[in-house]
């Protein structure tokens, strides 16, 4: 008979680390978020219990709400576009029969993912620079890619450049895992290429699309490095994303309670959006 304690023995290391660096911080953030800084007289500000004051303030903070709006814009434009391109490329690559060409394109598409977000931000920061951008050199224009009108698109481009290949590989791997006899059967039934794509491949891609979609939503909510490294180069507002706003607000006035409340609102936002996404993707079937 196996010992009842055995699974817990194997779980202990993970659960210990998980409790220390996940549960405890989240619990601590919840606790912190209930305290506000209060100044009385000339003394230094004191932390006093404020109930849900910080949360009320978060929902009235137009700078913070604006950063959430930017993220919504990302979710509506950048994420679908990226997944559309990734799916298209995965489907095309899946039909490439030449082994060398397939490996070459796969590697080329994947390389940007190996570039850390900060480094990608640095590199594109140079490429966006008015005076040395190769694009400006070729076209002879003096486009400022970091001006307020197109800044969000410039950041979106960095994210797209980094992550499309990664998503493409996930989708492509899912296609490669499909047993070939499914296609064979579809062919025998006289299905055209387009029909095979539409009625066989795309439905088979659903779980992979769900996964890439969820990770894209989570990743988008957390965009930080790219705008953060672009800040010295041009006018990047503090509240370009919720994460930059939160970090800069806390770094500036050390109001951890408010920062914690913002972080928790962001976490809830992520949960709601992911749930919304999951329900819609699953529900369509």
């Amino acid at each position: 008979m196996r010992n009842r304690a055995t699974p817990w023995f194997f779980l202990t290391p993970f659960l210990l680390a998980f409790t220390a660096f996940f549960i405890t911080p989240v619990g601590y953030a919840l606790y912190l978020s209930l305290f506000i800084k209060k100044r009385s007289g000339f003394g230094p500000a004191k932390n006093v219990f404020g109930g849900l004051t910080n949360y009320v303030r978060a929902f009235q903070d137009s700078d913070f709400l604006h950063s959430l709006l930017n993220i919504l814009l990302f979710l509506v434009i950048q994420v679908p576009l990226m997944l559309l391109v990734a799916t298209t490329l995965a489907l095309i690559l899946d039909s490439v029969k030449n082994g060398f060409a397939q490996r070459f394109f796969r590697t080329a598409f994947y390389l940007p993912y190996t570039v850390p977000g900060v480094i990608a931000g640095l590199l594109w920061g140079y490429l966006y620079s008015k005076n040395l951008s190769p694009l400006n050199q070729i076209t002879g224009l003096k486009t400022d890619f970091l001006s307020s009108g197109i800044l969000l698109f410039s950041i979106g481009n960095i994210v797209t450049w980094t992550w499309t290949g990664y998503n493409m590989i996930t989708l492509y791997a899912a296609l490669q895992n499909v047993p070939p006899d499914i296609y064979e059967a579809a062919r025998i039934d006289g299905a055209s290429n387009w029909n095979v794509t539409r009625y066989v491949k795309l439905p088979l891609l659903r779980p992979a699309l769900t996964l890439t979609g969820i990770f894209s939503v989570i990743g988008t909510m957390q965009i930080f490095s790219e705008p953060f490294v672009l800040r010295p180069l041009g006018y990047v507002p503090d509240n370009i994303t919720p994460n930059t706003y939160l970090y800069l607000a806390v770094a500036r006035d050390g109001n951890f309670g408010y920062g914690a409340a913002l972080a928790i609102v962001m976490a809830l936002f992520t949960f709601i959006l992911s749930g919304f996404f999951l329900r819609n993707v699953r529900g369509e079937a």
Partner: protein
């Protein structure tokens, strides 16, 4: 939608030769799309390689997508490794320590935890597993902020531990390892070993682990990349430059180059950026089948 057009075109072109249909249509348009995206993916990296061969003034005066001179490359390399008493080497070593510790630690924890979830039935198993998986959605900021305060309380701020310890938890790695245990280690084999009198730890370490080695490499690789790329956590928990990882160090160099305006070292930073991504490129090229396998198994069940 361009993909649609491509596939429809392919269909039409194969129509007259019904007798011997091509297995999959592949049109010029599709090839053009692949090529176009290939250029988009590689061009910034090509720019990095050409920029290494320039000094700072040539960055502005020469064409961005072509080389300048090998001697500047040597100069850049020398500056990169000697500036600020060769602190770049320190950053490189720090990144290796942070990412290496995260890879080994989270791999081991995920392997053990995934084993428990895959091979044992215990009370509350599924709800615990789902709860852990759901935490993937918690933004890293929500964690980094309280982690900073907690680390400060126990005096770990500005130590290696402040970056290493939080990197040991990888819920997605746990999820992947459970899938690998499900698929790679049959329960019958376990039961047979028990009948033969093998101890639980022997079954795990000697019998089980070798069978899921692919999963171990996958999780280690993902954790390594995650830690190597991490910027936010080190930004928050270390402010001594001798403890910076490459990501943080290079961004600080860039910031001072921009803000001070004098003696900017952009081309040196670009070279540093390339060196910072080389280990990941090598890892992915040599271990490619593992990450693709990992992504596939995650996606199929996801």
């Amino acid at each position: 939608m361009t993909a649609t057009q491509g596939f429809q075109e392919a269909k039409i072109s194969t129509a007259p030769t019904r007798q011997k249909p091509r297995r999959e249509g592949f049109s010029l348009l599709q090839f053009a799309l692949l090529l176009l995206f290939c250029v988009y993916s590689l061009l910034p990296l090509w720019w990095v390689i050409t920029t290494m061969t320039k000094d700072n003034s040539q960055l502005y005066s020469t064409f961005g997508l072509w080389f300048s001179s090998p001697s500047h490359f040597v100069d850049n390399l020398r500056t990169l490794f000697t500036r600020d008493d060769g602190i770049f080497v320190r950053w490189l070593i720090n990144s290796i320590i942070y990412a290496g510790a995260s890879a080994v630690g989270s791999m081991l924890f995920a392997a053990m935890g995934g084993y428990a979830f895959s091979k044992f039935n215990f009370r509350g198993r599924d709800s615990l597993f789902n709860a852990i998986l759901a935490t993937i959605m918690v933004p890293s900021t929500a964690l980094a902020l309280p982690i900073f305060l907690l680390m400060q309380n126990i005096g770990l701020i500005n130590t290696y531990w402040a970056v290493i310890l939080p990197g040991l938890v990888n819920p997605f790695g746990l999820y992947l390892m459970r899938l690998f245990w499900d698929a790679g280690f049959p329960t019958e084999l376990m039961d047979a070993a028990r009948v033969d009198g093998a101890s639980e730890s022997k079954i795990f370490w000697q019998l089980g682990l070798p069978l899921v080695s692919g999963g171990l490499v996958t999780v280690a690789l993902f954790s390594f990349v995650g830690a190597w790329n991490n910027f936010f956590l080190p930004l928050v928990v270390v402010n001594k430059d001798t403890l910076f990882p490459l990501t943080l160090g290079l961004s600080v160099w860039n910031q001072t180059s921009v803000s001070s305006g004098q003696d900017p070292i952009y081309t040196v930073i670009v070279l540093g950026a390339l060196i910072s991504i080389l280990p990941l490129i090598i890892a992915f090229l040599s271990l490619g089948r593992y990450w693709q396998g990992g992504l596939a198994s995650g996606a199929v069940k996801g």
